[in-house]
C-alpha cells in the first residue's frame, strides 16, 4: 500500500497528516487552508481533491463537494496506476457516500478493478461498495474473484455469506445453497477450515438444506473441535438432532448441558420438548430468534400414555438430581422445572390439579420473596381455570402466613402476593369497596416500610416501590368503573408522590405520562417522557408511549421534534448499517453478517418508521393548509403526493414489523389504539395473555389499515385542489372536461378509502347524505369520524368536477357542498358538546376534535381556496370581471354558505376553548383538589388522606434526612397546578389554530 512507502495517494504522508488532524479535531477552516497548499503543489491529485471534497462536505457545502469529487473521479479514470490507489478511492468513496451517491463510488471502484483486475486491495474496496449497496449477487461474484486470486478462507466465507444473504432475501434457494456447500467442501478437501465462525457457517449451510446428518458429522469431527465453547457446541448439536427428528439423542445432549448449567431454563424446555416430543420450536426453519417469542410450549405431546409416564418420571428423577447437585447455588431452574413437569402432565390429561397447585406452593415457599416470582410463574397460570387460580391464591396466602422468616423476605412475599392478585385478575371481580380497601392497605404498607430504605443510596431501588404502581392501577380501575374523576387524580398524586421521593422510577413515569395524556395535559406527559431519556434504539421500542398522542395534538413544534429525532436515528442507522456489516466481514464474524442484514430489514419495515415518515409529510400539510400557495409548494416537494403513496406501497403493508415493547404499557391501554378508559363497556379489559395477544394482533391489523388510509391523504388533497379549480375552468370554457384523469384518479382513491372504511363508495356517500340531512345519527359514522369527514371533503371536491355525481340535482345545484358542510358542523359541534360536559377535563375527546379542525376542516378550506382562486381572474378583483358570478350564482351562494358555516363552527369551538382557558386557575385547582380532598369514608380520597396524614406525622429520625426532606417537598397543589397549566397550554395552542383558520376564512369570504 502506498502509505507503506511514506506516500499517501502519491503524496508524501507528512503533507497529508495535518489535514487529517484538522478534520479529526473538526477545524475545517484550518483543514481547508492545508488542503489549498497541498493542491497548489499537487493540483491534479485525485487524493488531494478528495480530501478537499471531504472537508467541504463536513462544512455542509454538498454541491461544491460533489463537483470536486466528480472532478477527482475524472482525473482518477484518466490517471496511471500510480494514482489509482485504494486510499484515494476510499476517500472519494466516503464523500460520495455522505452525499448519498453510492453509485458513483461503486463506479470508481469498478473502473479501477477493470484496469487492475489482480489488485486485491481494490477488489476488496469494490466488495465493500457492493456491501453498502446490498448487492448480494455482485458481492458473491467479487468475493469469488478474491478467493480465486488469493485462495484465502475468509474470501470464500465472504462469498458464502453473500449467498446466504440472497437466500434470506428470498432470491434463489436450494441451488445457491448447494453451490455454497460445494465451494466449502472443495476448500475443505484442500485446505480444511481454520476459523470457528467458518465452521458455524458451514454447518448452517447444511442445516438450511435440511442436511442435519451431514451437519452433525461435521460437528463431531475435526472441524467441530474448532468450536471451543463446549456449551455452544452442545446447543448446536441438540438443535441439529432435534431437527433431524432424533429426539432421544437430542434430549441426551440437552441433559448434558443441564448437568453443567442446571439453571439454563431454555435448555430445560428443549430437553423436555425432545423427551415428550412436543417441541415445535425447531420446525419453523428460521435460524434467528423471533423478536417476541412465545412464552411457553403449548403443543400437546403425542407420545403414547405409558411412554409419556415413563419419560416424565425420567425427567423428574433428573430434575431431583439437579436440585441436589446445585443446592449451594442460587438457581431457580430445577425448582421451576417441577412446575413445568406438572403443567405438562396436566396438559396431557395425566396431571392432578392438587399436584400442580402444590408445585406452585413449593416454588412460592422457596422463591416467593423474589421480585421476579410473578414473571417466573406467569405462563403457568394459564392452564388454571379462574376458580383454580383463586384456590391457588388462597393456598399461597395461607402458606405465607405459616412461614416464619426475616423481615425483608416476608416483605418480598407479601408484595408477591399482591402482585399475584393483580396478575390473576382477582381485583377485577371485587366490589369497589374492597378494591378501595386494598389500595388503602397497599399505600399504608408503602408508608410503613419507607423507613427500611432510609440508608439506601438515591440511585438504588427502594423497598416496595412497586406498591405505588399497584395502588395507581387499582385507582384507575376504580375510575374506570365509577367514572369518578377523583380516583384518576388520586392515582396521579400517588405516582407524583413516589417520584418526589425517588425521581428515577421509570415505571411511575410511564404510568403518569399516560394518565396526564388522558387528562388532557399532554404537555406534562411530554415533560415526563423527556425525563425517561429515550434515545437511540429505545426510540423504536418506547416511543409508542407518546407518539400517537402527539400525532393528534396541536403541539406541532414538539411533534416535529419527536419525528425529526426518531427519523434521524433510523436513517442514520440505515446509512451506517452496511459499514457495520462490512466490519463483521472484516473481523470474520460471519454469523453476524447475516444477523445485521436481517436486522436492518427488520427496522426498515418498522410500522412506526413508516408512520413517522408519513406523518411528517402530513404535519407539513397541516401547518401550511391556511395558504393554498404554500400548500402547493409543500405538495410539490412530495411529488404531488405520489411520493407518499409510493413510500407506503414500497414498504408493502403485509411485511410490516412491530418492534414496540408493549409490555411496559398500563393495563388500561395495552396498545396505542386501545384505551379502556374511553369505553363504557362492561366487559373486563384484557388482562390474560391470550386476550393481550388478541389485542396485539388487532393493533397490528389496524395499524396497517391506518397507514394505508393516511397515505392517501396528500395525494387526495392534491387531486381535490385540482378538481376544484378544474371545475371552475370547466364552467368558463364550456368545451367540456379539462383533465379527466385527475377526476378519475381521485375517484379511484375515494373508492379505496371507502373500502378501508368497510363500504363501497356509493354506500359510504349514502351514509354521509343521511347523516347530513339528519336521517341517520352521528353514530352511523362509528368511532372514527375524522375518516368520514375526510371522505366527505374529498368527495365534494371530486363531485365538483364530475358529471356522474348521483347526488347532485339536475338543476346544477351541488348538494355535496351541503353534505360536507353539514357533516363537519355536526361532528365538530357534537364533540364540543361532549367535551363541555366533562367539566374541567377534556380527556380522550379532545384529540379527535383537534383532528377535525386541523385536518378535515383544513382540507375543506383548501378546496374552497382553490375554488375561489380559480374563479377570480388572475390579478383582478372579482368585481371588475366575473364570468363566474354570472354563470353560477348558485355556486357562489353555496361557497359563501360553506365558508360562513365553517366560521360559525370554528367560533363555537373557539368560544368553548376561551371559556376553558379563561376559567381562573384557582377555580380549576379547587375543582381538582376537592375531588381528592374529601372527608367521606368511601370514594376517591382515601389513599390521598393516608399520604397526607403520613407526611404530617413523619419523623426525620425514622426516615432519614433525604426521604424526610423529599416528603416535605411534595405538594399536591403543585401537581394540580401542573395539570391545569398543561391543559391551558394545549387548549391555547388549539385556540390559535382555530383563530388562524377563522381569519383565513374571513379573508376568503371577502375575496368573493
Amino acid at each position: 500500500m502506498a502509505s507503506k512507502f511514506g506516500l499517501a495517494g502519491g503524496i508524501p504522508e507528512r503533507r497529508v497528516r495535518p489535514i487529517w488532524d484538522a478534520i479529526d479535531s473538526r477545524q475545517y477552516k484550518n483543514a481547508l487552508k492545508h488542503s489549498a497548499s497541498l493542491l497548489s503543489k499537487f493540483p491534479n491529485s485525485p487524493y488531494a481533491l478528495a480530501l478537499k471534497a471531504l472537508i467541504l462536505e463536513r462544512m455542509g457545502k454538498s454541491e461544491e463537494a460533489l463537483s470536486i469529487c466528480l472532478n477527482a473521479k475524472e482525473l482518477l479514470c484518466m490517471s496511471d496506476s500510480f494514482l489509482m490507489d485504494d486510499l484515494s478511492l476510499s476517500t472519494l468513496q466516503i464523500v460520495f457516500q455522505r452525499l448519498d451517491r453510492l453509485d458513483l463510488a461503486t463506479g470508481c471502484y469498478e473502473f479501477a478493478c477493470g484496469k487492475f483486475p489482480n489488485n486485491l486491495e481494490l477488489i476488496m474496496g469494490l466488495f465493500n461498495c457492493y456491501v453498502r449497496e446490498y448487492s448480494y449477487v455482485k458481492q458473491q461474484q467479487t468475493a469469488i474473484k478474491m478467493y480465486k486470486l488469493a485462495g484465502e478462507e475468509r474470501f470464500l466465507l465472504w462469498a458464502v455469506c453473500s449467498i446466504q444473504s440472497q437466500v434470506f432475501c428470498g432470491h434463489g434457494g436450494e441451488k445457491l445453497l448447494a453451490l455454497a456447500e460445494g465451494l466449502l467442501k472443495k476448500h475443505i478437501v484442500s485446505h480444511s477450515l481454520h476459523e470457528p465462525e467458518a465452521v458455524t457457517v458451514y454447518i448452517s449451510v447444511l442445516e438450511q438444506q435440511g442436511k442435519y446428518g451431514d451437519a452433525l458429522e461435521v460437528l463431531s469431527g475435526k472441524l467441530g473441535s474448532l468450536l471451543s465453547i463446549e456449551v455452544d457446541r452442545l446447543h448446536l448439536q441438540g438443535r441439529l438432532l432435534a431437527r433431524a427428528g432424533d429426539n432421544a439423542a437430542a434430549a441426551c445432549t440437552f441433559q448434558k448441558i443441564l448437568e453443567s448449567c442446571p439453571d439454563d431454563w431454555q435448555c430445560f424446555l428443549h430437553y423436555l420438548g425432545c423427551l415428550l416430543e412436543d417441541d415445535k420450536s425447531w420446525c419453523n426453519g428460521s435460524i434467528g430468534e423471533p423478536v417476541h417469542p412465545p412464552k411457553s410450549v403449548e403443543n400437546l405431546s403425542h407420545v403414547p400414555d405409558d411412554m409419556f409416564d415413563s419419560r416424565v418420571s425420567d425427567a423428574s428423577i433428573f430434575v431431583q438430581k439437579l436440585q441436589t447437585e446445585s443446592r449451594t447455588e442460587p438457581v431457580r431452574g430445577p425448582y421451576l422445572a417441577i412446575l413445568e413437569l406438572e403443567r405438562r402432565k396436566y396438559l396431557h390429561g395425566k396431571g392432578e390439579k392438587e399436584k400442580l397447585l402444590n408445585a406452585f406452593e413449593q416454588y412460592f415457599c422457596r422463591f416467593g420473596h423474589l421480585a421476579c416470582f410473578c414473571s417466573d410463574v406467569e405462563a403457568f397460570l394459564e392452564v388454571l381455570t379462574p376458580d383454580e387460580k383463586m384456590d391457588l391464591l388462597e393456598m399461597l396466602m395461607k402458606s405465607s402466613a405459616s412461614l416464619s422468616m426475616g423481615p425483608t423476605r416476608s416483605l418480598g412475599q407479601s408484595l408477591t402476593l399482591q402482585k399475584m392478585q393483580e396478575i390473576i385478575g382477582n381485583y377485577y371481580k371485587l366490589p369497589a369497596s374492597e378494591l378501595e380497601g386494598f389500595a388503602v392497605k397497599m399505600i399504608d404498607m408503602y408508608c410503613r416500610i419507607l423507613p427500611l430504605s432510609r440508608d439506601l443510596d438515591l440511585q438504588e431501588g427502594m423497598h416496595g416501590e412497586e406498591l405505588l404502581c399497584m395502588v395507581s392501577n387499582l385507582l384507575v380501575q376504580l375510575f374506570w368503573r365509577s367514572r369518578r374523576l377523583g380516583y384518576l387524580l388520586e392515582a396521579v398524586m400517588v405516582l407524583e408522590f413516589g417520584l418526589t421521593i425517588r425521581r428515577y422510577v421509570w415505571q411511575y413515569k410511564i404510568l403518569l405520562l399516560h394518565l396526564y395524556s388522558h387528562l388532557g395535559a399532554l404537555p406534562v406527559a411530554y415533560e415526563w417522557y423527556g425525563t425517561l431519556d429515550v434515545k437511540n434504539i429505545l426510540l423504536e421500542t418506547v416511543l409508542h408511549h407518546i407518539l400517537p398522542q402527539m400525532l393528534s395534538s396541536p403541539l406541532w413544534v414538539d411533534l416535529n421534534n419527536i419525528l425529526k429525532d426518531y427519523l434521524k436515528f433510523m436513517d442514520d442507522h440505515f446509512r451506517e448499517s452496511a459499514d457495520l456489516t462490512f466490519l463483521a466481514f472484516h473481523h470474520r464474524n460471519y454469523s453476524k453478517v447475516i444477523e445485521f442484514v436481517q436486522f436492518k430489514d427488520q427496522l426498515q419495515h418498522s410500522n412506526q418508521y413508516l408512520v413517522a415518515r408519513l406523518e411528517s409529510y402530513i404535519l407539513r400539510l397541516k401547518e401550511k393548509a391556511g395558504s393554498i400557495e404554500e400548500e402547493e409548494c409543500v405538495l410539490e416537494s412530495m411529488n404531488c403526493g405520489t411520493q407518499v403513496l409510493e413510500l407506503v406501497s414500497e414498504t408493502s403493508c403485509n411485511s410490516l414489523t412491530f418492534n414496540e415493547d408493549l409490555q411496559t404499557r398500563p393495563w388500561w391501554t395495552p396498545t396505542s389504539l386501545k384505551n379502556y378508559l374511553l369505553e363504557t363497556c362492561e366487559e373486563l379489559p384484557c388482562c390474560s395473555r391470550e386476550s393481550l395477544l388478541k389485542c396485539r394482533r388487532e393493533w397490528e391489523v389496524n395499524m396497517q389499515k391506518i397507514i394505508q388510509k393516511r397515505s392517501f391523504l396528500p395525494r387526495m388533497i392534491y387531486l381535490s385542489i385540482r378538481c376544484a379549480s378544474n371545475s371552475v375552468k370547466e364552467n368558463i370554457e364550456s368545451n367540456g372536461s379539462i383533465d379527466s384523469s385527475v377526476c378519475l384518479e381521485l375517484k379511484s382513491l375515494l373508492a379505496h378509502y371507502a373500502d378501508i372504511l368497510g363500504f363501497s363508495l356509493n354506500d359510504a356517500v349514502e351514509v354521509l347524505v343521511e347523516v347530513s340531512d339528519g336521517r341517520k345519527s352521528l353514530e352511523a359514522l362509528g368511532s372514527n369520524m375524522v375518516d368520514w369527514l375526510n371522505l366527505a371533503v374529498f368527495y365534494n371536491a371530486w363531485s365538483l368536477n364530475s358529471h356522474e355525481d348521483g347526488h347532485s340535482g339536475g338543476d346544477g345545484s351541488r348538494p355535496a357542498w351541503h353534505i360536507v358542510t353539514a357533516v363537519l358542523e355536526k361532528c365538530v359541534l357534537h364533540k364540543v358538546r361532549v367535551l363541555a360536559s366533562l367539566v374541567c377535563f377534556p380527556g380522550g375527546d379532545l384529540p379527535m376534535l383537534v383532528q377535525m379542525i386541523a385536518e378535515s376542516l383544513a382540507w375543506h378550506h383548501l378546496v374552497l381556496q382553490s375554488y375561489v382562486q380559480s374563479w377570480l381572474p388572475c390579478g383582478k378583483k372579482k368585481k371588475k370581471a366575473g364570468p363566474a358570478d354570472q354563470s353560477s350564482p348558485l355556486l357562489s351562494h353555496m361557497v359563501l354558505e360553506s365558508i360562513s358555516s365553517l366560521r360559525a363552527t370554528l367560533q363555537v369551538v373557539a368560544k368553548w376553548l376561551r371559556e376553558q382557558i379563561d376559567r381562573t386557575e384557582g377555580e380549576t385547582l379547587d375543582l381538582c383538589l376537592s375531588s381528592v380532598e374529601t372527608e367521606y369514608e368511601e370514594g376517591p380520597g382515601q389513599v390521598f388522606r393516608i399520604l397526607k396524614d403520613f407526611i404530617s406525622s413523619a419523623s426525620e429520625a425514622e426516615l432519614g434526612d433525604r426521604i424526610f426532606q423529599a416528603l416535605k417537598s411534595w405538594s399536591p397543589e403543585e401537581v394540580a397546578r401542573k395539570i391545569v397549566n398543561g391543559q391551558h397550554k394545549i387548549l391555547s395552542e388549539f385556540l390559535q389554530i382555530c383563530n388562524s383558520k377563522m381569519k383565513k376564512l374571513e379573508a376568503l369570504r371577502q375575496q368573493i
Partner: protein, 195 residues
C-alpha cells in the same frame, strides 16, 4: 433461571425495561454493533422464563504484549432480577473467555468512584483497584480502573496498584478503536485503519 447466550441484534429490541433504568446507558447503534461485529464472544445476555431479558454484559479484548486483556464495557441487570448473582455469572463468562480462549493476562473495567455498591460487588468478584483515572466520566467524576489477573499472569503483575492517579490521556488502551465509551465515526475510523 438463567439462560446465558450470545447477544443478538433482536435483543436490542427487547432490552427496554433493562435500559430504562437511569444508570444503564443506551449507546448509539454503531457502538453495540461494533461490539457484535468484533467481539461477539464478549457480548452475552441472560434470559429468564418467558424470554425476559434479565441483564447483559458487553466487552472486548485488546492491548499489546502483557497488557493483552479482556475489558468489561458494560454490565447491567434489571431491578427485578438483582441479588441473584446474574452479574457474577456474566462476569465469570467473560473472564473465562478472556482466560481460556483469548489467553489474556487480565480483565479490567472502569467504574465511577462514587458507585460504592458496584465497587463492592467487583471487589467480591476478585477485582482490585489498579489505579484512579482523574475526571474520567465526562470530565467530571473520577473513574476507578479495576482489574483481575488471569491465569496467564502467573505473578499477578497486572494488578499491582499504581501509586499515582492518571489522567484519561494517559490511558494507553483507550487509544484503540473505541475510546472512553464513545465510538468515533466508524467510516472515518475504518478508512484510517485500512489506510
Amino acid at each position: 433461571m438463567t439462560t446465558i447466550r450470545r447477544f443478538c441484534c433482536n435483543d436490542l429490541l427487547r432490552f427496554a425495561s433493562v435500559n430504562l433504568d437511569h444508570l444503564t446507558e443506551t449507546f448509539n447503534m454503531s457502538f453495540y454493533m461494533t461490539y457484535l461485529a468484533r467481539w461477539p464472544d464478549y457480548f452475552h445476555v441472560a434470559e429468564g422464563p418467558g424470554n425476559r431479558i434479565m441483564g447483559y454484559i458487553m466487552g472486548k479484548v485488546e492491548g499489546q504484549g502483557e497488557s493483552w486483556h479482556g475489558h468489561v464495557t458494560a454490565v447491567t441487570v434489571a431491578p427485578e432480577y438483582r441479588r441473584q448473582q446474574v452479574a457474577k455469572k456474566l462476569m465469570h463468562l467473560l473472564e473465562d473467555i478472556s482466560d481460556n480462549i483469548d489467553k489474556a493476562y487480565f480483565v479490567d473495567l472502569f467504574v465511577r468512584a462514587s458507585n460504592i455498591p458496584a465497587i463492592k460487588m467487583y471487589e467480591k468478584l476478585g477485582y482490585v483497584v489498579y489505579r484512579r483515572v482523574l475526571r474520567y466520566y465526562s470530565g467530571e467524576e473520577d473513574g476507578l480502573d479495576m482489574r483481575k489477573a488471569l491465569s496467564r499472569d502467573v505473578e499477578k503483575k497486572s494488578v499491582i496498584p499504581l501509586k499515582r492517579p492518571v489522567t484519561p490521556d494517559e490511558l494507553e488502551n483507550e487509544k484503540s478503536f473505541i475510546a472512553n465509551g464513545h465510538l468515533a465515526d466508524v467510516r472515518e475510523q475504518s478508512l484510517r485503519l485500512w489506510a
